[in-house]
Structures are given as C-alpha cells and as structure tokens.
C-alpha cells in the first residue's frame, strides 16, 4: 500500500497575482441576475414551494417531485465549495429566479443593438447571419436550415432505436429509464451545485443508445432546436447500453451570451459492458468585459461511469469562455478493463479564472486512464489544473498516464498544477509529466523572420501546443476549435 502525497506545483510568471483580482471581486452584478417578472416566470427565491412549482409546471410525476425535494432538503445543509483557486463575490441564491418558461426573451431587436465586438467575432468565425441573430438572442422566426436537418436526423435516429430528446420529455416518455439512471453517477448530495441542480433543473438532454447499436451520427445539442432555452441549471443524462457507441457534441464555438450569470449543470454518462461514449465540449460562454464584469460563472459537474466491463468513456473539452470555470469531467472505472480518457484545452485571458481538471477513479481490474491537459494563460488569466487519480485496493493492474502542460503568454498570467495521486494497489503503473512553458521570443522571432505576423505566429504555436487534444475532436469541431483559439488569443500578446 502506498500513497503519494498531493503535491502542488505552482508556476507564476510574476508575483502580482493577488492584487489584480480586487477589481473582479468588487465587481457588481451589472449584467447578471436580471429578473424580469413575466407571467411565466417565478419570482426570485428558493424554498420547497418553488421546487414543487417547477415540478408542477413541467407536469412531472410524483417520483420526480419527491426526488427534487429530497435534493433540496439536503442542499440546505451543504456548504459552498471554497477549495478551488477561483475568486468571486458570494452568490445570493435567494436573488435568483429558478423558473422561466422557455419563451422568447426580451432581447435585442436587431443586430444593430448587439455588441459590435461580438458581431466581429461571429464574422471571423464565418457564422451565417441568421445564426448570428439566434446566438445574439434575437428572436428568429424560422431557424434557418437546421429545422429540416433536425427532422432528417430524428428519423434516422428513430430507425436505429436511439432515444435523443429533452430530459423533460424523457421524464414523461421513458420514466423507467430516467428513474433507473438519474443521479446514479452524480448523486444530488455530491456537492453544493449538484444539490441545487437536482432540486431546480429545468431542462437538458437525454440520450439512450440500445444494445449493440452504433449511433449513426454525432449527436449535438445544436440540432435539438426545440429546447434551445435550457436555462442555467441544465441536466444531461447519456446511457450507452451493452456494446453500443455514441459520440456527443456539446456547445458552440460562437460566443454565447446569457442573462443568467450562474450556470450549474450536471452531466451523467453511463457506459455498460463493451459500450463507448465520446463526449466533446467546446465552451465559449461570455467571459465578461475587460474587467471581468458580467461574465458567466460555469460551475459544472460532469462524470462518467464505466459501469460495464471493457467500457470506455472519453471526455474532450475546449474551454475558452466564462469568467469562472469550475469543472472536472471525471471517470469512474468500475468495470474490469474499462478505459477513461480526458483531453482538455483551457484558455484564460483578460480576467478569466479557471480551475479545471479531472478525476480518474480506478475500481476495476486492468483499468486504464489517460489525462492530457493543456492550459493556456494570457494577460491576467489565471488557471489551475486539479486532477485526482485514485487506484482502489482491488484495482489490480491499473494504469494511468497524465500529461499536464501549461503555456504562459505575457508576464501577468499564471498557471498552477495540483495533481493528486492515491494508490492503494502496488501493481499500479502511474506516469505523470508536467511542463510549464512560455512562448519564447526566439519562437516568435523565428516565425516573424519567415514573414508571419506576430498574431499568426502566436496562434500557430498555441495550436501546435494543443494538437494532441484537437486530434481527439471530431473533424469539423477541431477545425472550428482551432479558429476559435486563434480568435481568443488575438491581441493577447504584448
């Protein structure tokens, strides 16, 4: 039995990382938590009545209401986590409205009213005009082509027997599946935000892939247009039955604005014997203005359970948005010979803060996990990689490879690495590599002496740094992610 104590590796390019968050900490909720009392919106505040009201409005069966209430009661006694290396003012949970009917919100009337910087980014990403309107929150009557695309997709999925619908729909249509799996990977009591989410989640996605079925296409929320407004407490449940395969894409490379400042989503993945789930995320929520004001707080709990033997769950994420990211997509390797993977690129610039990483919990025999984390910090960006690899006593022959690289741009950004390793079985094979580097002046000069502009040089070097992760993304997503990264880092040098 051996335990390696947690070791914190910290790399800071300058020691002035404490004072610089004063502004952020003092920033008010200028854009967040704006509650407009509409007929279909509950007033701010949270109590049992509100939880019941949400459940009632969604016409949920009693078991669902009770499940929510149980979560709510436990949540009342739970503390907010304070261990993450992020700083923000305390959140008043009684000031939030927990239900807003998915109606068209009062948004900008036309593109003329939208932040020109946002529009510029849309144009750089090559997003069609109608889509730009939708992203900027302008009411669009006919949602371009994807209506027909979505219909075609649904028929194809139906033929294969794949269930892909909103979680609300699933509660009504497939209650036995939801009851069997909901909360079994991320219990409501897991942490403060999962407790809150379990009590008040308004919508999200449900996927079930039947036995020995290979899902005929990449599933993406992008095409699930009828539930565009999933709100701030999103709930996703994906079940891959024995011998099945599914690839799921979440998010969008275009910067998304949202009037809700706090996002506390829960994602649960379950892979049974010989099943594989590939979950890819590109997250680009509004990061706030130059001072970090108005940006999204992304406090999300994502966990996959390799419940069956020889099952595999793979997380790939590209995180460029949000003011604060608190996120650790994890794998429980329960089945023998199961495999967990985590590939991550996280970018922080301006006043963005990210504390992200993964947990690989090895319970089954001959389980293996791979962690590749690439962190990029520019300007005052601050980020921490926090990872746990736990090998249980009965996990004979477990293997882990962790690679954790940080890239600093400029002299005010910082990167921290907190790898935790707990090994209780001496047959485990563990590898850990960590590097911190800066884009060197030599590299920049070399590129420039070949005719490339400084910005192109930075984007080329950064994309090279992230290559191992981009290689894991589905093709078209990878191309978009690369473009996104270049745009994110424009003007970040100097």
């Amino acid at each position: 039995m051996s335990a390696i104590p947690a070791e914190a590796i910290t790399a800071e390019s300058k020691a002035d990382t404490v004072g610089q968050y004063d502004d952020l900490v003092n920033a008010g909720y200028e854009h967040g938590f704006v509650t407009e009392i509409e007929s279909d919106t509950l007033p701010p505040g949270l109590d049992e009545g509100v939880v019941r009201a949400i459940s009632a409005r969604k016409g949920e069966p009693e078991w669902m209401t009770e499940w929510r209430l149980a979560a709510y009661r436990k949540w009342l006694d739970m503390p907010t986590p304070t261990w993450a290396a992020v700083h923000y003012p305390p959140i008043d949970y009684q000031a939030i409205s927990y239900f807003s009917a998915p109606k068209k919100k009062e948004g900008p009337k036309s593109l003329d009213e939208v932040d020109p910087i946002l529009l510029e980014t849309y144009q750089k990403l090559g997003i069609p005009i109608e889509e730009q309107k939708a992203l900027a929150g302008i009411a669009v009557d006919a949602v371009f082509d994807s209506v027909s695309v979505a219909t075609t997709f649904r028929e194809k999925l139906h033929e294969a027997g794949v269930i892909f619908c909103s979680i609300s729909e699933a509660v009504q249509e497939y209650p036995e599946l939801v009851q069997k799996y909901l909360g079994t990977v991320v219990p409501p009591t897991d942490n403060f935000y999962t407790g809150l989410n379990s009590a008040v989640f308004t919508d999200g996605t449900f996927v079930y892939v039947p036995k020995n079925t290979r899902c005929p296409m990449e599933l993406s929320t992008y095409f699930r247009i009828n539930t565009a407004n999933t709100g701030q407490f999103e709930r996703t449940l994906i079940v891959a039955d024995e011998g099945s395969y599914v690839s799921y894409l979440e998010g969008c490379t275009a910067p998304q604005r949202d009037e809700n400042q706090l996002h506390a989503a829960v994602v649960e993945l379950i892979a049974l014997d010989d099943a594989e789930i590939k979950y890819s995320t590109v997250q680009n929520w509004y990061p706030g203005d130059e001072d970090g004001k108005g940006g999204i707080y992304n406090f999300v709990t994502k966990r996959g359970d390799c419940r069956g033997h020889r099952s595999k769950i793979s997380w790939t994420q590209v995180e460029t948005g949000s003011a604060i990211t608190w996120k650790y997509p994890s794998c429980i390797l329960r089945g023998d010979d199961s495999v967990g993977e985590f590939y991550s690129v996280a970018v922080t610039k301006g006043r963005q803060q990210a504390d992200t990483g993964t947990k690989m919990i090895h319970l089954g025999k001959n389980t293996s996990s791979t962690i590749v984390s690439k962190g990029i910090s520019a300007q005052h960006g601050q980020q921490a990689y926090r990872g746990l690899v736990r090998i249980a006593a009965r996990a004979e022959g477990a293997r882990n490879h962790t690679q954790c690289d940080s890239l600093l741009i400029g002299d005010k950004s910082s990167a921290h690495t907190f790898p935790y390793i707990e090994v209780k079985n001496s047959s485990a094979k563990m590898e850990h590599e960590a590097t911190t580097s800066k884009i060197s002046d030599d590299q920049l000069f070399y590129c420039r002496s070949r005719g490339l502009s400084e910005e192109d040089a930075v984007s080329m070097i950064v994309n090279g740094f992230c290559k191992e992760v981009f290689n894991e993304l589905p093709m078209e997503f990878a191309v978009e992610a690369q473009k996104l990264l270049s745009i994110s880092l424009e003007g970040a040098v100097g």
């Binding site: 002046d441 420039r448 002496s449 070949r450 005719g451 070097i461």
Partner: protein, 250 residues
C-alpha cells in the same frame, strides 16, 4: 541590393557594431568572417530585426527601403531571409503547414494570389528536387527533434521555398559534419542566381571551400577591417585573424 552605412548597434550598454559599411550587389555572395565576439551574428540579427539590439547610428537599405523602419515580418516580405545558426523548434506545428503559411503571408503582402494546397505541393516537390532532398522532414513539426544537420537542411529548404532577394546565412556550418556541410552547401549553390544576393557569416574558412564567395570581409571589433576576394579567406585560414586584427589595433 543591400547598402549598409555607418551602422552602430548596442546590446544593453555594450556597443557591438561600431560603424559598419557594406555594399552587396545583385547576385553577389559575400562572406563575413571574423573572430569570436567580433559582431558577426549581431550584424545578421540587426539586419533581420531581432529584438534586444539597439541601432544607434547608420542605415541599412534593401533596394532602397530602410530596413530599420520595418518589423521583422515586413523585412521578410520584402525579400530578406535569415538562416539561423540555431533554428528554433516549434512543437506541434507541422513543417509543411508552417511553410505554406509563411509563403502565403509573403505572397499576400506582394498582392499575389495565395497558393492552394495543390500548387503548394507542386512547388515543394520542385524545390526538393533542386536541392536533392527527400520529403521526410516535411511531415514533422518544425525543427522539433531534428538533428543538427536536419535543422540546417530545413533552413535551406525554407530559403528555397521563400525565394528571398537577400539571404543571410548565420554560421550555417556550425555543428555540421563534413557530409552534412556538403549537402547544405550544395543546396546553397543551387539557389545562387543573378537576382539573389547572399551574405555568408562564418567563423571558419571550411564552408567557403564549398560556397565560393565573390568577396570576403573581415569583421573585428564591430567594423569591417579588411575586404578582398576569396583568396583572403585562404590567407586567414593560414595565418589566423591575429595579424589583421592586431595590425589594425596598432
């Protein structure tokens, strides 16, 4: 082509170049030799625009354009190329992709059409043939994990692709064994043309056995103290630098 007049440059408080004059005509190959610390590499870096040097006096004009008014990338687009003494590694950046981006940045700045993948591949194959190189380096990340010889060959290949007006080879012979040296020198010779000038910066005469210069200059203490034909290089090889440098100082 290149006209350098009274160039003075400092690093920190230290003056490295102390009034350097050099005229390079079209198609000419000039060798700049000199003892360690004479300012050879500084001269190459100052011309290509590396940060960390301050030009305190003098001018450098390429076809009439003042280089010191331009950023490094603008100088490259104008037709200046520096083959590095220590080529820099760019992990994860594909060599072909890098070259295509560089070439297109240069073409674009000249109002030429950017090359598509097919035309780029065609051009690349052509240049590989001229230089007698195979394509094994192209699929790897730029200089990453390359041997010393591979790095230098890659520099010469980049030069072939970017077709500069003026190429500066900064101690291209350093760290090369005799076979690698010959391959690199053959490449350079293949790229000689009436429109392309070259400045070959070197410490040893050895490289000049393979790349025959039109002119040889001796740089010492930040100035060119002796110029001559290729026979000057042989004299230096025989007698060392002492006789000129000390003679000048006396």
């Amino acid at each position: 082509m290149l006209s350098v007049k009274g160039l003075k440059a400092t690093v920190g408080d230290k003056e490295i170049l102390r009034g350097l004059d050099l005229e390079v005509g079209p198609g000419e190959v000039h060798a700049i030799m000199g003892p360690n610390g004479s300012g050879k590499s500084t001269f190459a870096h100052v011309l290509s625009g590396r940060e960390g040097y301050e030009v305190t006096a003098g001018s450098a004009k390429l076809d009439g354009t003042d280089l010191f008014e331009l950023d490094p990338e603008e100088r490259a687009r104008l037709g200046l190329f520096l083959a590095f003494q220590y080529p820099v590694e760019l992990p994860g950046v594909n060599n072909m992709y890098f070259l295509k981006a560089a070439l297109n940045a240069i073409r674009k700045s000249r109002g030429e059409d950017e090359l598509d993948a097919v035309s780029f591949m065609r051009l690349m194959k052509e240049k590989l043939k001229v230089l007698h190189l195979d394509d094994s380096l192209l699929k790897r990340p730029v200089n990453f994990g390359f041997s010393g010889g591979e790095k230098k060959r890659n520099e010469i290949f980049q030069m072939a692709m970017l077709e500069p007006k003026l190429a500066i080879l900064d101690e291209t012979d350093s760290g090369l064994d005799i076979d690698a040296l010959r391959i690199v020198a053959d490449g350079v010779n293949a790229l000689r043309s009436p429109e392309r000038s070259m400045i070959v910066v070197t410490h040893y005469q050895r490289l000049l056995d393979y790349i025959e210069p039109d002119y040889v200059h001796v740089l010492a203490k930040g100035q060119i103290i002796r110029s001559g034909g290729k026979e000057l290089a042989l004299e230096l090889e025989e007698k060392g630098y002492g006789w000129i440098v000390d003679g000048e100082a006396a």
